[in-house]
Symmetry: C2
Subunit: 125 residues, 2 copies
């Protein structure tokens, strides 16, 4: 529809705006079917595995703010802060490789420790 395809940064920001505003289905339109996601707990392959990882996080999100966003011809990097129901001040960073307007690879870094601590509080052994 447009003469100029989106840059990796534009795609990354469109994905980010969608999931942080609660429209995860719109976010998934920017994700390739064969996405590979390197997450703290391991590597996820394919859009459905990615959805099962990421969608639950979007349900506990209460606010977010972009800290930095950069990109080149192949990839983009986003750093952002989030507040969530179990954990406040839970920042994340992503390096997204984009081809033909779809996110093909996403490496995400965040601190799992406060989420583990919060889970332990909710479900004592």
């Amino acid at each position: 529809m447009t003469a100029n395809p989106a840059t990796p940064l534009e795609t990354a920001l469109a994905y980010h705006r969608a999931w942080t505003s609660g429209d995860f289905e719109l976010a998934m339109t920017h994700v390739a079917d064969d996405i590979v996601c390197q997450a703290p707990a391991g590597t996820l392959e394919g859009a459905e595995a990615f959805r099962r990882f990421m969608e639950p996080f979007t349900k506990i999100l209460t606010s977010s703010a972009l800290i930095a966003a950069f990109g080149d011809e192949e990839k983009a990097v986003l750093m952002y802060d989030t507040d969530t129901i179990p954990v406040r001040d839970a920042p994340g960073a992503e390096c997204l490789t984009v081809r033909e307007g779809r996110i093909r690879h996403l490496r995400i870094i965040f601190d799992r420790l406060p989420f583990e601590v919060a889970r332990g509080r909710q479900t004592p052994a």
Copy 2:
């Protein structure tokens, strides 16, 4: 000594190269005395607090690789992978605010969970 001061990205990369190559004293020459560092465990104020946080990590580092590096007039973002003695595949991301060639603010994101798990293995209760 040079007509053009270093860009934030150049300063960030010089800092990064120094600590990942084992020269933490050189790394500290890029750090402002009044640096504020937002780390997963909380906010650290001043170069000595920053040193106490970061130097021990450099002692357990066994290898590192830059994943992405970008910057503008004010800040830089680095994402990198590291292997450490207790934890392999321990990536990190930093957003560094640089003024006059010194790092004034550094926000660092990494997953503390595998380090906590490794510590628990070493020192059982």
